[in-house]
């Protein structure tokens, strides 16, 4: 069958979401909530279908193709066009983004229906879907880009959408400004990362003369031999961009705060798609990293350290979404470490499976939160109960069974229990670590243990035991439009391991067409067994510690770990005071400088100079005005004075 014609459909993956956006913009408000939600979800679903068609076409010609679309920049020797790159790597990303994205869109119809009523502004429903479609379009631009410049356009676009969606309820949040501050934090932290990516792009252009992937990666070996430091700098600056976008150390601080946005946003952007853009970037540039071992080490250790660091924080959090946020950071650390070690396929595999179960966990958490809101409303507890605080929950598996089961599946997948998806992807990463980088392996194994522990803790605290507040017993299940996507994602979490089942290695063969000879995404049964043991250990420990501490009205009682771990626990609970450190080191001095420049410098000096000029002119005018007294004789006198002066001068000369 002639499938190559499918390739020309690729611009539609960007433009159909844009069309959906336009339709919602013009007609959405008038035609109601259901219409807006259906249009947006259909647009994303259509993108998904097109991605499938592209995948089918690639099956026949797997080496990929570049579809030219538009001329963009042509200045002297610099050319950057808007071309679409259809190869196995980009199509994998497209499938993930559009597939998970469309499920989340459908979920959002039900979720936002409740959320706009809970927050009191029904007219904002359409705006949400407009932003979401914009995000899908931008993400598609990112993954289908053929050169660094278009990638950067998409990179910035998703950053913008992240800002818009985090601050969706911009007037709410702590002190009426908390959400807006979180959005600002995300944008600015991302901006620091973007600076790194930009510098890397400048260096690439300077040394390679072009920004096209094909040109640059083909010429990489020569440049590496001629200027090894340049390539090191390029990769390190790119790493800075990755730490910003994919929330690694040290620029991860925006992601926990980003939980201020609605839950579907957290699921789509901050679990499944935007944050994976960094991993995608490193995977795409694997040609660079393969040539600079020092950069590879840097990337690996950034990822591994982040994985462990974030896992420790997740253990002590009480907000349901914060646990998942730190879990995301930790899992991204796994992915980054994987691509750093050269196990690009393992990293991409984990990206795919993680998007399934993390999106599932977030969406299910959203369902839990809304169930708690309904419970609070029903029991008239009102705003005293924070529906996101896990200490208020307990025993919810009786109230919201569907959500419980999908959450359990997602949690176990995250922990890495066989035969769920997380098991296979995580163990491929651990196997790659065990093969060459033992220290990294130890760190990642510890992080995996903590992963199992904190997710077990979360599940026990929410669903088992007895309710700890008045709202919990009255929680009720969410509607079908919410639970059905959850079930689909749960199914994907169960079956996701098939994408790269050891031995069959579908994904590895698929990606090899683009990435070339990568490290074998191997699977060591010994490593797998050990990690499975660790996971079971973690879950069991969580059950032991938390399974018995759930009496009613005992929210004030300290977390059982507090007594056992003491100061260590306090550190974990306070996120190791990183935000405070950044405030002390960077934000406060910057504020002080800005304040100084604004007050004494701008107001005092510059304004005063301007005002002084005005006042001086006015004063001069007032003084000069006294000469105009209307008396002709005094005018004549002044003329005479002048005459006398001139004459005197001429005489004395």
């Amino acid at each position: 069958m002639q499938t190559d014609s499918f390739f020309s459909l690729v611009p539609l993956v960007v433009f159909i979401p844009l069309l959906g956006l336009l339709i919602n913009l013009i007609l959405g408000r008038r035609l109601g909530e259901v219409f807006a939600g259906v249009v947006a979800s259909a647009a994303t679903a259509l993108s998904f279908i097109i991605a499938i068609l592209l995948a089918v076409a690639l099956g026949h010609s797997p080496q990929g193709v570049t579809i030219p679309f538009a001329e963009w920049i042509k200045i002297g020797s610099f050319q950057a066009a808007w071309n679409f790159r259809v190869d196995t790597l980009s199509v994998v990303m497209m499938l993930v983004v559009a597939g998970v994205g469309s499920l989340i869109h459908i979920y959002s119809i039900g979720y936002m229906h409740n959320d706009v009523r809970h927050n009191g502004d029904l007219s904002r429903f359409t705006r949400f879907f407009i932003f979401m479609n914009l995000f899908i379009a931008a993400m598609m631009i990112l993954v289908s880009a053929d050169n660094f410049l278009m990638l950067f356009v998409g990179w910035e676009g998703v950053g913008l959408c992240s800002y818009l969606l985090i601050g969706f309820w911009f007037e709410k949040g702590k002190d009426g400004i908390g959400n807006a501050l979180a959005a600002k934090k995300a944008f600015i932290t991302n901006r620091i990362g973007d600076f790194g990516l930009l510098v890397a792009m400048f260096l690439i252009f300077w040394n390679f003369g072009s920004l096209d992937f094909s040109t640059v990666f083909a010429a990489a070996p020569q440049v590496a031999a001629a200027h090894p430091t340049t390539l090191l700098l390029i990769t390190l600056f790119m790493l800075l961009g990755v730490t910003g976008k994919s929330a690694q150390l040290p620029l991860y601080v925006w992601l926990p705060d980003a939980m201020a946005g609605p839950t579907p946003v957290s699921a789509l952007i901050h679990a499944a798609t935007m944050v994976t853009a960094g991993v995608y970037l490193v995977a795409r540039s694997s040609a660079f990293y393969a040539l600079v071992p020092a950069a590879q080490t840097a990337v690996t250790w950034v990822g591994a350290a982040t994985a462990l660091f974030a896992a420790t924080i997740a253990v002590a959090q009480t907000d349901i979404k914060k646990v998942l946020a730190y879990s995301t950071i930790s899992q991204l650390g796994f992915m980054v470490a994987a691509v750093g070690m050269g196990a690009t396929v393992a990293g991409m595999f984990h990206l795919v499976t993680h998007s399934f179960f993390k999106a599932l966990l977030f969406l299910a958490a959203g369902s839990v939160i809304q169930a708690m809101e309904r419970g609070a409303h029903a029991s008239k507890s009102g705003i005293e109960i924070d529906p996101q605080d896990m200490r208020n929950m307990g025993g919810l598996r009786k109230q919201i069974p569907v959500t419980f089961w999908v959450y359990l599946i997602g949690g176990l997948a995250l922990a890495g229990l066989v035969p769920l998806a997380g098991f296979f992807s995580k163990d491929e990463i651990l196997a790659a670590a065990a093969k060459g980088h033992l220290a990294v392996f130890v760190v990642l194994a510890l992080a995996a243990f903590l992963t199992a522990f904190y997710i077990g803790r979360q599940i026990v605290m929410i669903f088992f035991g007895t309710p700890r507040s008045k709202a919990a017993p009255h929680a009720s299940e969410s509607s079908r439009v919410v639970t059905v996507p959850l079930m689909i994602l749960a199914a994907l979490s169960v079956l996701g391991g098939l994408f790269n089942f050891p031995g069959v290695s579908t994904l590895e063969k698929w990606l090899a067409h683009t990435l070339g000879e990568t490290t074998n995404a191997s699977f060591l049964w010994s490593v797998a067994g050990a990690s499975l043991l660790l996971a079971l250990l973690g879950l069991g420990l969580a059950w032991l510690v938390y399974g018995h501490v759930t009496h009613p009205q005992q929210k004030e009682q300290a977390d059982p770990l507090q007594s056992r771990l003491g100061a260590l626990y306090t550190g974990m609970q306070h996120k190791w005071w990183v935000d405070e450190l950044y405030a002390f080191l960077f934000l406060n001095p910057y504020h002080a400088i800005a304040q100084f420049t604004a007050q004494p410098v701008d107001q005092g000096v510059i304004n005063a100079a301007g005002d002084g000029l005005g006042r001086g002119a006015k004063g001069l005018g007032t003084w000069l005005r006294r000469f105009q007294n209307g008396f002709v004789r005094s005018y004549a006198l002044w003329m005479l004075v002048g005459l006398a002066a001139i004459l005197t001068y001429l005489v004395l000369r």
């Binding site: 005094s634 005479l640 005489v651």
Partner: protein
């Protein structure tokens, strides 16, 4: 000390005295009359300098016509006495200082820088010939002559228009 010098000195003293008297007099009519005396003295000086036509023109036009016009207007408006309060405090002292300074300066410059080498000439027939003056007026200075005549016409018409317009307003 030649006779012409004595004559000149007498005339100069008369002229200056008349001028000072004009300035100091409270009565406007007396000021006008003093000015006429000044003009007459100057006219005689013109005579000694060999310009009889100009001298007579001075007497006729200046003393005869212009000063008479002045006298008409003075008498029409009434010679007034104003309050002696000077609204501009520094006016009088500064003006006097400057005026005297100018005089002193001018005379000093003249006598020291220019010196007394250049001497005037005795009046001769050739200098005083009205025929030659007329020829000059109508040949070299014909354009200024014509313009001056237009100027006079304009002045006459203007004076009439100015005063007549006011009359009409008053009637209304």
């Amino acid at each position: 000390m030649s006779a012409s010098l004595v004559v000149f000195l007498i005339l100069a003293v008369i002229a200056v005295a008349a001028a000072v008297a004009m300035l100091l007099s409270n009565n406007t009519i007396y000021s006008a009359l003093y000015l006429i005396m000044n003009f007459l003295a100057i006219a005689v000086i013109y005579l000694t300098l060999g310009a009889p036509f100009v001298a007579l023109a001075q007497i006729t036009v200046y003393a005869g016509a212009i000063m008479v016009l002045f006298l008409f207007v003075i008498m029409m408006l009434g010679a007034e006495k104003f309050s002696e309060k000077e609204p501009l405090r520094w006016q009088r002292p500064v003006a006097i200082v400057l005026g005297l300074g100018l005089i002193g300066e001018g005379v000093y410059v003249l006598l020291t820088r220019i010196g007394t080498q250049m001497l005037s000439n005795t009046a001769t027939e050739a200098m005083a010939d009205p025929k030659a003056l007329g020829a000059l007026l109508y040949s070299k200075y014909s354009l200024p002559f014509e313009i001056t005549s237009i100027l006079l016409l304009t002045a006459a018409v203007g004076a009439v228009v100015l005063t007549r317009g006011g009359k009409r307003e008053e009637k209304q």
